[in-house]
């Protein structure tokens, strides 16, 4: 019996090694690079200078702020569109409502570079491309990440126990009160899950901003990319990554994202 349990447990060894080699060690290397710099003789020395340089550079700070603003606006628009939509879909009496949901979250399965390029063609056709870089970037982020907001909201609203709503109505709540006092608070896990899935990619997915702003807008993810591919300063690139990780961590902490049901993560239950 003991030997047997041992053999099943052993199945996690390859995965544990894989995680150590390709997740833990690479992340430690970012940390190492962020706090080192090349000396005059080319040797690596421990330094806080990348950190200091980031927070004293107006260009970098304004990129951070602008990126943050784009992400907040995109996330808010996604929420404003997705919540009523998910509500309507979840409450519809139609028998095949999962087919309907499928049509709305279809983009999740289609290559996003192709979708964003298609959107670029449309924006070009209506004259927005090349003139409205910020607007286009926000439209692109919403276009790309809307399904990731719709899915968790639909899932929570669908599972919501209708008897609570009936009880609230029986106890004299009007439709508005029932929504604000019962439905909305109960749907918070979906809201949080959606926000965490839209906010961070909107700060970092530079394919969207590059394609739709004709490479004129630099969001935080693009800045990291530039330090690796254009400026060849991997130390600064790593430092910006660490700052980004801190932002992700704080967002998760603020929204309670650590506690949420991880099965919602980027459509883990898609298939």
């Amino acid at each position: 019996m003991t030997k047997l349990h041992f053999s099943r447990k052993q199945l996690c060894i390859p995965y544990a090694l894989f995680l150590l080699l390709f997740v833990v060690i690479p992340m430690l290397m970012i940390l190492f690079y962020a706090f080192t710099g090349e000396g005059a003789d080319g040797s690596l020395t421990f330094t806080f200078s990348n950190f200091a340089k980031f927070f004293t550079s107006t260009a970098k700070l304004s990129t951070l702020l602008m990126s943050f603003t784009i992400a907040i606006i995109s996330t808010a628009i996604c929420l404003l569109i997705a919540y009523p939509l998910a509500y309507v879909l979840a409450r519809s009496n139609w028998k095949k409502k999962n087919v309907l949901l499928m049509i709305f979250i279809m983009p999740m399965w289609i290559n996003f570079v192709l979708r964003i390029t298609a959107l670029r063609e449309l924006l070009d056709l209506i004259g927005l491309l090349g003139t409205q870089n910020y607007l286009n970037t926000i439209i692109g982020m919403v276009y790309d990440f809307l399904p990731f907001m719709i899915l968790p909201l639909y899932t929570t609203l669908e599972k919501l126990d209708k008897s609570y709503l009936e009880a609230a109505a029986d106890l004299g709540g009007n439709k508005f009160t029932v929504f604000t006092r019962v439905t909305f608070p109960l749907s918070m896990p979906g809201v949080i899950s959606g926000i965490t899935m839209v906010f961070m990619p909107s700060m970092t997915n530079y394919v969207v901003s590059d394609t739709l702003s004709n490479f004129n807008i630099t969001i935080l993810g693009k800045l990291i990319d530039e330090y690796f591919t254009t400026y060849d300063n991997w130390h600064m690139g790593s430092m910006i990554s660490i700052i980004l990780l801190v932002i992700i961590f704080l967002t998760l902490l603020a929204t309670g994202g650590f506690k949420e049901d991880k099965n919602n993560a980027r459509g883990a239950n898609l298939w």
Binding site: T117, V207, N269
Partner: protein, 265 residues
């Protein structure tokens, strides 16, 4: 009544938003014009150009083969990992689950540069090996996430019964455990394929210099301004949109029907 009209209007507006760029590309894939907006008569010429373009055909093949390889390896590693984690003590399982979440939560650009750092410092930088590993880092945690709930739903007594009836642990694993979690394994595999096909950033940082997938090729075409001189890319996009929409609808409806049958039992 007003509410119903508003609901329908909202649905229609969102559908228009989601599908108008896709529709635009599909429609304009049937004319030979270089630029969208100029209709030069109905023709299949772009599709002809597409299938005659050896470079794009190679890239299409690259993308599909990479997705299949990465998904197969991720499914194998992730399924074994999930089973191992599930039967391990909490002391081992908890940190593994936590670390497994890192690539899920992390920004893709951070995952990408972390792998670029590792491979450039050690070996295999910008090789097919680093590319496959990059995709596995993205996909395997999702396989674990897909398989884990099925393990939890499983009745542990069946496994014990198989042992009591004389099955060895390996036989019991393959004849009892695997069949019960199989829907989770296939879901993990399909999700891995989707994630791999969709990826740009990790691919860009781990791929060999001369190797391209659809994502990196199209992004570079936009970057270098060559996308309008290659209108065959429009046919490629249109084809992928239509094939993916059809595949997703068919597969999902079959899966839903199947699971509906199962739950009706």
């Amino acid at each position: 009544m007003v509410r119903k009209i508003l609901s329908v209007a909202l649905c229609v507006a969102v559908l228009l938003f989601i599908y108008s760029p896709i529709l635009l590309l599909v429609v304009y894939s049937f004319t030979s014009a270089n630029v969208i907006g100029k209709w030069e008569g109905f023709s299949f010429s772009l599709y002809g150009d597409l299938f005659r373009n050896a470079e794009i055909m190679q890239i299409l093949l690259n993308t599909v083969v990479l997705a299949l390889v990465a998904a197969a390896l991720s499914t194998l590693l992730g399924t074994a990992g999930a089973i191992g984690i599930f039967y391990s003590k909490k002391r081992v399982a908890a940190p593994l689950r936590g670390i497994s979440q890192i690539p899920v939560i992390n920004a893709e650009i951070v995952t990408a540069i972390s792998l670029a750092l590792l491979f450039s410092m050690v070996a295999f930088y910008r090789t097919y090996f680093s590319l496959v590993i990059g995709h596995m880092v993205l996909c395997t945690p999702f396989v674990v996430l897909s398989v884990m709930p099925k393990l939890k739903q499983m009745d542990p007594n069946i496994y014990e019964a198989a042992l009591d009836l004389g099955a060895g642990p390996t036989t019991a694993l393959f004849k009892v455990v695997i069949p019960q979690i199989f829907s989770g394994i296939t879901a993990g595999f399909m999700l891995s394929i989707t994630l791999s096909l969709d990826d740009y950033i990790v691919t860009a940082f781990t791929k060999p210099k001369t190797f391209d997938t659809i994502s990196t090729y199209v992004y570079n075409a936009v970057k270098n301004g060559t996308n309008s001189s290659t209108p065959a890319l429009r046919a490629l996009s249109a084809l992928i949109f239509v094939v993916m929409i059809a595949a997703v609808l068919i597969l999902n409806l079959r899966v839903r029907k199947h699971s509906a049958k199962e739950s009706a039992k």
